[in-house]
């Protein structure tokens, strides 16, 4: 037990005996105070990388479309007045496959700065995100689809600035009160990206951005602004949206304060003010919640006992989250890895391509005990995925074949692996988790126990790395197994399937199955991206889920749940795709 764990235990014991907790009248009426351990990396939605930070942009900005609260499958208008469909002819596919999507823009919507929203602002927003190199996943996706490259800077390198800017310029234009996007080919998840509620695709005010020193929107000035670093971004510490809350002050490591936008086009919010406070240790946040100094926190499963039953505190455990975790097999581990012993199959190591034999992968799959893992780590509350499409997402196949613990089958596959050499010679490797990550550690401990029990010649050692080292080692392909997940910010099956299976999705490169992906998965993932025919998409999605099972790419070990706790005077909380991200507009304190 390390000092922090010991301190948590002591605090839990002592705090449990504290009579003063949970009593007293409501503090800070009209102000919602949320405590979180996640600091903020930027206030520019186009550069946001963490879903925790996107909570702020979702409350300050509006996108063109949105979802009704608690219903991620339905699209509703937001800054656009109509949801484009093929039926209402706002989506048109040309004979050359290029696609026009038209969004009629809402009138009389004011930015926090006082300026009125225009279609020109919408066009500027997306061109700006691509030109400056917005790093959020939405802009990565848009860059691939509009420009055909990972970034505008890459396109400039290949085609020159003039040609690249012409391509950028063509992507969207104003047509009366509407904005027309021109996609080189259909991209079905585009509407989902536009419906992120302001998280990454929030609409900027062009004149205000230029006044802050950002790109003024002209071709002549573009080169000066392209491919910017996060800290060079003039919008890093500023926000000006059309959303229900406006930024008052921001201190990334301490607190961000928002105040109600009383002139919000959809009606004034009920809260006057929101403070998102950063705490170093969640134990402090728990104490503050009990004392009523904080209104809302997230709690780990092992902290639930500290908040359950406390007078005045409401706990909502086991809320499904759109976060799927996987134990990924790396089929081409770097020869420089220190985690594969001598690099030869036998009692002292494994070869770098150990997992390229599907029998090894299947043996590992059958060695994992989902029930034990979910019970130990999530007290039985997390979900077992049925495939790479998350539970709750369209086209998820509940009948997709799944692996489950079967040590006899695991033994059979180990005997077949590497022509029987694995069983005869044994193997030794080191499985690594990121320090402090209980779910990663527990998953590997279960795998280790079950596999080592099959054959005394099998050895899996466990080690931990700090988060920074862990991420680096994954990217350097030094780890035989990587525990990293999928966290789609758009509810569309294309996103998890692209990330997990497409040759350019990230995992194919990390896991060493790019060629397999190109040959077997990419054409089907392309159908998911381009077909508006639900039947075709369903078929392609089912086929991909089956292929994932057949190829045993990863152990899909859980879809997460989150636990939140709040004071009972907090009203209007409805869990969304990320339960700890709040929709302040719907909330009140009374």
């Amino acid at each position: 037990m390390n000092p922090l764990q010991l301190s948590a235990l002591m605090l839990a014991l002592t705090a449990g005996l504290s009579p003063g907790f949970g009593q007293g009248a409501m503090k800070n009426p009209g102000t919602l105070i949320k405590a979180t351990t996640n600091s903020v990396e930027t206030l520019d939605p186009q550069f946001m990388l963490s879903s925790a930070t996107m909570e702020l942009s979702a409350n300050v900005y509006n996108s063109l479309l949105a979802h009704p609260q608690g219903d991620m499958a339905t699209l509703i208008p937001s800054l656009a007045t109509t949801v484009p469909t093929l039926k209402n002819k706002l989506i048109r596919i040309n004979p050359d496959n290029s696609t026009l999507i038209t969004f009629p823009i809402r009138r009389n919507v004011a930015f926090h700065s006082g300026a009125t929203l225009t279609p020109e602002d919408v066009v500027y927003t997306f061109k700006r995100g691509l030109l400056v190199g917005g790093q959020s996943s939405a802009f990565n996706m848009l860059s691939q689809n509009f420009l055909g490259e990972a970034s505008f800077a890459e396109l400039v390198k290949k085609e020159g600035y003039d040609a690249a800017f012409a391509k950028l310029d063509r992507m969207a234009s104003v047509s009366g009160d509407s904005v027309v996007f021109r996609l080189p080919k259909p991209f079905v998840p585009f509407l989902g990206v536009m419906a992120d509620g302001g998280q990454e695709a929030g609409i900027f005010c062009k004149t205000w951005c230029a006044a802050q020193g950002d790109w003024p929107g002209t071709k002549e000035t573009g080169q000066k602004f392209m491919g910017r670093k996060m800290e060079e971004d003039p919008l890093m510490k500023k926000m000006n949206g059309t959303g229900p809350f406006k930024l008052t002050s921001a201190d990334f490591a301490e607190r961000v304060v928002l105040e109600a936008n009383k002139g919000y086009w959809a009606g004034a919010p009920k809260l006057d003010r929101v403070i998102r406070r950063v705490v170093a240790d969640n134990q402090t946040a728990i104490l503050q919640l009990k004392a009523g100094d904080v209104d809302f926190i997230s709690v780990d499963v092992d902290q639930l006992g500290q908040v359950k039953g406390v007078p005045g505190v409401k706990v909502m455990p086991n809320l499904p989250s759109t976060w799927l975790m996987k134990i990924n097999f790396v089929m081409n581990i770097s020869p420089n890895s220190g985690y594969i012993g001598d690099g030869r199959l036998g009692p002292n190591g494994v070869p770098g391509n150990f997992f390229s034999d599907i029998n090894v992968r299947k043996a590992f799959e059958y060695s994992f005990d989902w029930n034990a893992f979910i019970n130990e780590v999530f007290q039985g509350a997390a979900l077992k995925p049925s495939g790479p499409v998350l539970i709750g997402f369209p086209t998820m196949n509940p009948k997709n074949p799944q692996y489950s613990l079967d040590l006899n089958k695991a033994k059979d596959y180990f005997k077949k692996a590497w022509g029987g050499q694995v069983w005869d010679k044994g193997f030794k490797m080191t499985a690594v988790y990121s320090s402090g990550s209980k779910h990663r550690q527990m998953a590997l401990e279960i795998l280790k126990t079950n596999i080592e029990g099959l054959n005394p010649k099998f050895k899996i050692e466990l080690a931990s790395l700090p988060w920074a080292g862990y991420v680096g080692a994954i990217k350097d392909k030094r780890l035989p197994l990587t525990l990293f997940g999928i966290l789609p910010t758009v509810v569309d099956p294309y996103l998890p399937l692209f990330e997990h299976m497409h040759s350019a999705g990230g995992y194919a490169e990390w896991g060493g199955y790019v060629e397999l992906a190109k040959k077997s998965f990419d054409p089907l993932v392309e159908i998911m991206a381009t077909s508006y025919d639900p039947a075709k998409r369903l078929k392609a999605s089912y086929q991909l889920q089956q292929l994932d099972y057949d190829n045993a790419l990863s152990i899909l070990h859980f879809q997460a749940v989150e636990n939140v706790a709040m004071r009972d005077w907090v009203k209007g909380y409805v869990p969304g795709a990320f339960p700890s991200n709040l929709d302040y507009y719907a909330m009140s304190k009374h």
């Binding site: 301190s7 009579p19 607190r255 988060w467 991420v471 350097d476 910010t489």
Partner: protein, 344 residues
Amino acid sequence: MIRYLSKRMAALPLVLLCLTALIFSLVLFLSPYERLAVFIPNADVVGGNIPFDQLVHQYGLDQPFYVQYWSWLGGLLHGNLGWSPSAGMPVAEALAKYFPATLELMLVGALMVFPPGIWLGMHAATHHNRWSDQTARVGTILGVSLPEFIFGLVLMVLFYGWLGWLPPGRFSQWAEDAVYLSSFHRYTGMTTVDGLLNGRPDIAFDALRHLLLPALAYSIGLLSTVLRMTRSSLLETLNKEYVMTARAKGLMERVVIRKHALRNALLPVVTLGGTIVARMLGGAVIVETVFNYHGMGMFIVSAAQGLDFPAILGASLLIGVIIIVTNLVIDILYVVLDPTVELR
């Protein structure tokens, strides 16, 4: 003495250069992707779709070591210590913001360590083997052996959880709101002082309320150390011949102790002062985390966890300067306390 001080000050840049080169060379052991991790926030709130290669190239992490070091040194000469992704601001700005908070904590801590530690040490020595001496001896063993984070947590549960007197953080909600207003000038960055300078004693008092527990948490062990050192040093001095001579002259015991014995007995305590400053800086890391007190300690923790090299280098530079200056001050105090000491 001036020559000595000039020599020490002249050596300062060289010492700091060596320090930064040493820390910077650690970069060699990490791949660009490992150093990039600081730009990728929390382990469990990001997905797999991260533009690693784009970020590595943008931040020049794929450049050779000497290019990166030279570029950092060039920035340093222009007062630019680089960008700290973990703090979300330039390193120099982060240090200017967080160091005064920690300094304020250290000063309050020093008030809890030195005056009571020296007084109690004197009392224990002059009441050798009596009950107060025995109590002090047992108390100091307890004080030294109690880990700061456990003591801190117990204090917080008692004084915040039970009694509601001394909350964590740097301010209460109302004071925080007032401090963030543009009308509140942060002259020193130390809220107690700034509260008074702004004519807001209520804010100064609120800041002091928030300082008491963290300062107490890391002072208790240091107070025990000072007490023990003062006691043993004074006991030794009281047996010296010149003290006996003073007593033989018929001087009052109070005068013998204060004027003759204590001055010499304090020399080891002064030496200890340098170690205590270093220990306070180290202790701030734990205490600030436990009490959610946003200072240098929390800044260093988040920088170290994320391998935020610009922040680590900047903080190391500042700590290096503090330690060197503290040692200089101690050297000067030596001369003041003992005229036989000469600095060359």
